[in-house]
């Protein structure tokens, strides 16, 4: 079990309030991702749930029980740190065994769980090594192993993949997703990478300056962003924002169109511009288009290989049902 509820939780560091009153419920078994730019308070929020920081006011409930004043050790949560935070003086085996040792689990049961975790995480051959002798990816696996053996009510991940190189990151992302579908334990995952959020989450919590901007499933956020911030943050490449007369024609202060929702043509289209940089990825082609009279740059994602060159004139047509409209406060218009 691992339902986590925050009620009017706030956090201030000396005079600065980094988390204004905040309510949030994460259901049992859910994979929740806190995402936002650096400094948005997502890590602080996670540390409040972990108990590593004290709340300034409000309540944190775990499975309905008030955990606000419980020390981290008593909350039944496991955490995976960005820096892995392995015990450098202990072997991998002892690192993984440590939380079980603290919980007073019997020796043979400890050994059984270590073997199980090691097998699942490809660590069997490394159990007697020290963390210093492992690669970054292996260290991250040990940190995850240390978290799973104690069978916590929920896992907390604090940007666990940001110290890994790109290829490894994709691999570990899949492993963590797989782990979640196998264990069905609540997971809260903090990241600044919206791709991680989109690919892993059941529920994304978009944060800015301690405020929750929107909570929803990845596709909810993609399809119906509540405001300009979420619209710009979710999706890659970023949504194009157009103000002025063109927006007025759609009865909005600002309209937003995602790069993948604009069709390109040589001869005619609703808008036209000049191709600046063209990025050919093979599967897709990204065009950065200037001199449209709409915004400084309009980014377009065309499927497959499309042969426009730098300096070519290009015509653009946004798909009418994919135009997002926002009012002058940046809120979505339905």
């Amino acid at each position: 079990m691992g339902q986590i509820t925050l009620e009017k939780v706030t956090k201030s560091f000396s005079d600065v309030q980094v988390i204004p009153p905040l309510d949030l419920t994460i259901e049992d078994g859910e994979f929740a991702v806190f995402v936002g730019p650096s400094g948005c308070g997502k890590s602080t929020l996670l540390r409040l749930i972990a108990g590593l920081e004290d709340t300034s006011s409000g309540h944190i409930r775990i499975d309905g029980k008030d955990a606000t004043d419980l020390p981290p050790a008593k909350r039944g949560l496991a955490m995976v740190f960005q820096s892995y935070a392995l015990y450098p003086h202990m072997s991998v085996r002892k690192n993984i065994a440590f939380p079980m040792k603290m919980a007073g689990i019997a020796q043979d049961e400890q050994e059984r769980r270590i073997q199980q975790a090691a097998a699942a995480l490809n660590l069997t051959d490394y159990l007697d090594r020290r963390p210093g002798q492992l690669s970054g990816g292996q260290r991250q696996r040990v940190a995850i192993g240390r978290a799973i053996v104690r069978e916590p009510d929920a896992f907390l991940f604090d940007e666990p993949l940001s110290n890994l190189d790109a290829a490894l990151r994709v691999g570990m992302r899949l492993e963590i997703s797989e782990l979640h579908s196998r264990l069905k334990t609540t997971m809260i995952y903090v990241t600044h990478d919206q791709v991680e959020a989109m690919t892993m989450a059941d529920k994304i919590v978009v944060l800015r300056a301690g405020h929750i901007e929107q909570v929803g499933s990845p596709l909810d956020l993609y399809r119906t962003p509540r405001n300009l911030f979420v619209a710009g943050f979710i999706g890659s490449p970023k949504m194009n924002f157009i103000e002025g007369e063109m927006a007025g024609r759609h009865g909005a202060h600002t309209i937003g169109v995602r790069p993948e929702h604009i069709d390109v043509a040589e001869g005619k289209g609703e808008w036209s511009g000049v191709v600046g940089v063209a990025e050919h990825l093979g599967s897709d082609t990204f065009f950065h288009i200037h001199q449209t009279g709409l915004a400084e740059t309009i980014t377009v994602r065309a499927p497959g290989e499309v042969s426009f060159r730098h300096g070519d004139t290009i015509h653009l047509t946004p798909r009418p049902d994919q135009i997002h409209r926002f009012d002058d406060k940046g809120l979505r218009l339905e």
Partner: protein, 276 residues
Amino acid sequence: MARAVSTRKRAIYTVIAWTIGLLIFFPILWIFLTSFKTEADAIADPPLFFFFDWTTENYGIVQERSNYLRFLYNSIIISVGSTILGLLIAVPAAWSMAFVPGKRTKDILLWMLSTKMLPAVGVLYPIVLIARSLNIYDTYVLLIGVLTLINLPIIVWMLYTYFKEIPVDILEAARMDGASLRNEILYVLTPMALPGIASTMLLNIILAWNEAFWTLTLTTVDAAPLTAFIASYSSPEGLFYAKLSAASTMAIAPILVMGWFSQKQLVRGLTFGAVK
């Protein structure tokens, strides 16, 4: 990362390193050699290097004339005692400064270090007066107390840099893993802090062992350590280089042996924070 260093460059560096090493080592070697010379050979001009009549008579005379073991005992008591007392004070101090720093932590550290800039002789008079009025002149209490205070800034600084290097994440991980404060200290903090404490201890023993100004001025007989033992051969009956050298050799031998066996710890302690 490995850098390409040409053979010639490496040869030059090797020569320089050896030269510096030998220069530092030479006085000790010279004392050692002189201790086996006769008094006449010791002051021979030009100096004799290896080819003289080797004799151990100096050691015999020194043994006869003064009670080496008594001085050795005092040295051990004073250096080990002041080190233990210093660590007892410095570990909690450095601990709190490293893990729960306040607004003035950096200032306090610098202020502590600044006391080392004061010439020792500046506080000689007050300390002698205090010792006399408390009636603790020439006692272990006085020497251990004074040496502890003299070396405390260094101990705190060393421990502070050590503790600073222990990542807070790891302590938090232990808390998340269910460790009580006691278990956190026992299984995580102590093992990670121990190498630092050990090298601080070794360095401080050496500093205290070699400290001469205070040990010479604050003792006469009862608490006099090996520094006083050496000094007793330096002047009263004129200069006897061979005997002085024999006494010096006997005084530095124990600490040299200790240093030899704990080289690794010592070097780590001295370069800690400098290399990462």
